[in-house]
Amino acid sequence: MSAVTAEHDHDDHHHDDHSHGPEKGWLRWVVTTNHKDIGTLYLLFALAMFFVGGTMAMIIRAELFEPGMQFVDPQFFNSMTTMHALVMVFGAVMPAFVGLANWMVPMMIGAPDMALPRMNNMSFWLLVAGVLLLASTLFMEGGAPAGGWTLYPPLVLQTGKALPFAIFSVHLLGVSSIMGAINIVATILNMRAPSMSLMKMPMFVWTWLITGFLLIAIMPVFAGAVTMLLTDKFFHTSFFDAAGGGDPVLYQHIFWFFGHPEVYVMILPTFGVASTIIPVFARKPLFGYSSMVYATAAIAFLSFIVWAHHMFTVGMPISGELYFMYATMLIAIPTGVKVFNWTATMWKGAMTFETPMLFSIAFVVLFTLGGFTGLMMSIAPADFQYHDSYFIVAHFHYTLVPASIFMLMAAGYYWMPKWTGHMYNEKIGQLHFWLSTISVNILFFPQHFLGLAGMPRRIPDYAIQFSDWNMISSIGGFIFGASQLLFLYIVVDTIKGGTGEKVTDEVWEDAHKHGLEWTLPSPVPYHTFSTPPTVIPCDHD
């Protein structure tokens, strides 16, 4: 029995609940336990937050368009850099990947739904609650947090009324992430179709299994760190106060013990999406599947033992500097394995260049660039020069925007026809791609030069010699921001019917050879795989 027939006769037997369609009316979205509904909620919420965080970035780039103070006061500027980061990390990128996991993981492993559907609903709504608390700080006496997204004491303790709200927001977002991660890990470990062994799982599922583990391990650490901020501020403790025997540097250690794996939380599922899309459009199996799995696991392991490379200038013993420098350099090895595997997958492939593939190729090139600047900064003595400069801003934006964000866009283009049953407009999709790719480089590449020349980050005004590159960077930023409205248009248009072209079940040529989701009808029915599929497509040898 193939997966498709298993799907078509799923109404005939089984528990009553399986044959239900969605609830009527808007309440459907509040009480839903369906992984597809919740996936949609996550994705739309993340898209909204992408534009909220993006607006903040536009304010930052507008202020930096020219030297001198133009539009906002410095306090508000600093709030913008802080909130832009928090909104993008916790409101946009992470939820978007959880949304993809919700939609795709059960369909990719042949499961009827997520393992813990009620908790799935709670994860999403706690995310909304957390972001509400965070957003509320913008309207408070003393303004939103302005000490940087890392919330370093003692600076962050000078925040006004916003401080406890920001801290509790982190707690809620943490609980939401942990619940989401537990759900995904339990789904992957417990809900796979009988013939789907771990080493047959699609790479996207593998990367999320490992990401889920990272999240469960690190979110409590962040929660602990901000709890100590709270007690230092309101309950007279001395964790980060040297006069009482504490140490502000301790906060940095704890924060980056969370923060470094956190950046892999945002990049590992990105790798997963790339490993899913590239083989389909290269019409070849993924090259080096098992080495991809081991490389992902190796990156996750290394991410726990390199955190203090964010703190080279804080005053560590020389042995610490050396250890963290060498350990950090090691990450280049498994990451290199991945980049070479993607390249080898494309090698001599019968490639076509639809929008998802274009974004994926740009990702491989531009992420590698961000990786190389990372390698530059891992060299401790060199980092003394780059630290807290625009060079680091350029570095991590290269790993986040043309990497994580690009692959989220690619995932949207790749799976939207499956989700909606409609084809997106390929011409506008490619226009979106070219505008984004060109402008993202105009936006971030000059920031390398600014940083090397000594321009510090998180500063609303700058010396006159930085003017030219800042203006170019801002122009790139405005084009990039405006281009994303095309994506919004495409999402709305595709949901409403797209090109009107009838999409097939496999959507992309021979996609059914690459993943179970393409064996299902387009659009996907509300419930899928009520009985597990017996035939598993395997994308690798």
Binding site: H13, H14, H15, D17, H20, E23, V31, T32, T33, P112, D113, A115, L116, P117, R118, M119, N121, M122, W125, L126, V128, A129, L132, L133, P164, F165, I167, L172, I178, I182, V185, A186, T187, N190, M191, I218, M219, P220, V221, G224, M228, T231, F235, H236, T237, S238, F239, D241, A242, A243, G244, G245, G246, D247, V249, L250, H253, I254, P317, T531
Partner: protein
Amino acid sequence: MSTNNAYYIPHKATWPVMATAGLLTTLAGFANYLNGSSIGSPLMMLGFAIFIVMVAGWFTLQATESESGMYNHGVGVSYRMGMMWFIFSEVMFFAVFFGTLWYTRNLSVPWLGGEGAKVATKLLWSNYTATWPTNGPGNVGGHFEPMGAFGLPFVNTLLLLSSGVTCTWAHHGLLAKKRDQLIKGLIATVGLGFLFVLCQAFEYHEAYTEMGLTLGSGIYGSTFFMLTGFHGFHVCVGAIILSVVLFRSAKGHFTPENHFAFEAAAWYWHFVDVVWLGLFVFVYLM
């Protein structure tokens, strides 16, 4: 394939939204309270009330569904995995505070005492000698006495360790279909748990009133109360969970094959137990 072989997926859920509303209201209330706003406390209490109703409702629903046989083996495995990973997240949470204790005792306090040729500390606090316990070079919180290991803390160690034994004894009773042993074992476990909390309350009272030891007593007071406080909170939660399991056992719930709630509570209890052993060694003894 028979009906109860299918993985149970609820059609809709209303408790999770209520849980979110409860948590959001509680935390917004708490934040307002910390900012000195008068609506803080009532908001916090309202949120907490919503949360309590939600916990009662959600768990009643789960217990009813479980007893009516709606969960197959697969659902049970998912629940167990959920609980395991939740406990792992709790381990990481406690690891932060144990790590803080380790870092301050072995690194930052010696640095404040001049180790490692830190010029700034020599300039700021030239007379400070690094010792443990300490409230830092600023003598933050004033004079205090550290908490010894062999008073109430040792009694508490014995209490918790025996409660781990009674909990396992109750589990054996459940597996052997000895309902009487299950209930007696659980009563003993819950009793020992609450006794532990009572002893800790006495300990805290003594610390605050007689020893000058408070949350504000520098880094020693901070780590001492943060670690033992969060642990004590977990003991309370664990004892409440076990009380619910006791109540359900008395109502005839659970079979030797199907008793996830008992297992989860027992795992949680043993986890709390192990954390205490860490506390006893690293906070009290060393």
